[in-house]
Subunit: 345 residues, 2 copies
């Protein structure tokens, strides 16, 4: 592959920091196009072209902590244009933290440790965006946390908070395949219907219109719950501590409540952990990228065949559309995992 000496690079910068936790709007972003020299790489470094950006709510927090004129940073799938790193040969497709720009140099070892090679997983019949969601870090998080922390056993009951998101959807479907009874909560009746009718959840309820504790108690019946899959880090923890069976587990994988500016849970009933011999454990996917191959081997065929479903929205648009799309995401305009595919723009 021949590499040009310089490129025209378009990037999105922080124009202003939103005040007091307000969500960013157009005035907070600035898009610039500059002509840049293609860098000489030092050992370990890679130079990539970003292809499909992942839009995630958490970005707004990094944004609010950034500095004006600094790049906005998210996650993306990219092509390696130049490389001095054997893990990421020229031409390979990778996923990792990404500045909102067309071309990126990654030479910081910490950032390189967060990049993973998608070549072993890529299926030409699947959209690249799927590796931002159910076959990406989100998928690995769910699959690996259920295996490592959940300790699922056939016949048990699992309860999943905010189950209609990327994590919850997959957790419910994987648990169902292992013979568990699956209960989920979601924030709209449409999502509740989706969980029950499309994803095969045994029970689901609307946590905005129903009393969570009462709804879960009814849904679980005399079987109780054995696992609480926690994506929210809110007062569902208190409810779960009360309702979990002996030897129950809380698998903590997300903190949606904190992302939404809510106070975290402060459970006053942790004595249940002792008296019921519960296990409450946190899981983060970092440093678990070596599990990707096993994960893809098991889950990718199920996604391809449609046995495992995942709602996603893939937007087509240039890098200059990404800030607008992100603002729409924060306004709740899209369904499921959201990506922007800039290849066709």
């Amino acid at each position: 592959m021949t590499i040009a000496k310089q490129v025209s690079n378009t990037r999105v910068l922080v124009a202003q920091i939103p005040e007091g936790g307000v969500a960013p709007n157009k005035s907070h972003f600035r898009t610039v196009t500059v002509t840049e020299a293609v860098p000489e790489l030092k050992d370990g470094a890679i130079y990539i072209q970003n292809l499909v950006f992942s839009l995630d709510p958490y970005i707004k927090f990094d944004f609010a902590e950034g500095a004006t004129e600094s790049p906005v940073v998210g996650f993306a799938i990219a092509k390696v244009l130049d490389s001095k790193n054997d893990s990421f040969p020229i031409g390979s497709t990778v996923s990792g933290p990404a500045k909102w720009e067309l071309f990126t140099l990654i030479d910081n070892p910490e950032k390189l440790a967060e990049v993973f090679n998608l070549d072993k997983a890529l299926d030409p019949e699947l959209p690249l965006s799927i590796y931002n969601g159910v076959l990406g870090l989100s998928g690995l998080t769910v699959w690996d946390s259920l295996n490592q922390v959940g300790d699922l056993k056939k016949g048990e009951t699992i309860y999943i908070s905010s189950a209609a998101g990327t994590l919850g959807q997959l957790a419910g479907q994987l648990a169902k395949r292992k013979g568990l009874r699956v209960i989920g909560s979601a924030g709209t009746d449409e999502k509740v219907a989706f969980l029950k009718n499309e994803l095969g959840f045994d029970a689901a309820f609307n946590y905005k219109t129903q009393d969570k504790r009462a709804a879960l108690t009814e849904a679980m019946g005399s079987a109780g719950i054995d696992i609480y899959y926690d994506i929210t880090l809110d007062d569902n923890i208190d409810i779960a501590l009360d309702l979990l069976n002996q030897y129950g587990r809380i698998v903590s994988v997300g903190a949606l409540a904190l992302h939404q500016g809510q106070a975290p849970a402060a459970p006053a009933n942790v004595f249940n952990i002792l008296f019921k011999q519960l296990r409450y454990q946190g899981y983060l996917v970092y440093y678990r990228y070596d599990q990707f191959e096993s994960f893809w081997k098991e889950v990718a065929p199920l996604v391809k065949s449609g046995e495992i479903k995942s709602a996603e929205t893939v937007l087509q648009g240039g890098i200059d559309s990404i800030a607008d799309s992100y603002i729409r995401l924060l306004n709740g305009e899209y369904k499921g995992k959201v990506s922007v595919d800039i290849r066709t723009a």
Copy 2:
């Protein structure tokens, strides 16, 4: 062994329930002596003579929830006088829940499940009372919880709250033998000195006169803590959640705070469980009696040789002395594990 047809049985009954959580005094107990028929046993039942009673703070709670004229119930070591249970042959020495009386029929399957046979452990050179403490359920609790839940690794640091009690003493010494750095807290300077000078703790502090968080922070230094061994179920949990290292563990084995009428912990920082991938797990010794043999094999020689120390107080006195001794226990008059050996009275 020939068994008499009837026995003279002395027992201690609840005379009055203390009002509003007040500790019981003499007026709340009543000792009676009755002549009783020796029972005909049904299958599974045993008839025992109690020898050494364990005095434990928790008894007052059962007491307060009992009924007048009902027996006071604690834990004891006893001799099997008659048996229709292969696990407890006539003549064997057992330990289990015990009414404060001389002779007891145990035919309730739930109560029988809490009885264990001491014959494989008994060492004539050790006092029988030691099987109420460091070589009894308390010892098994510590040894098994550290193995099953603690996941101790050489070079790690463990913090133990209320470390001068039976559980804490053994936990610290076992952890030390596994190559961990051991920090303990205790409620008097004398106990703090005991932990450091007699038990070999690396650091210890007085939680009544020092700020717990500051003292622990200083004691742990830059190594942080990897395991919090929780005997208290109080706000040490909050402190531990903040100070634990990545992949740290909280081993929850006791609820001293609840026994003392304090409100349980309500940690507002459980987000640390997610962000540091902690594991917070409860342990109860029930249903783990099958581990006794392995435990005794490893720990009994260490107790006998003095490599593992345990403070205990053994009172000599008849069954009619037990209520007075218990009141003194609640007043804090004794040191370490307290037993009443009624054989010599």
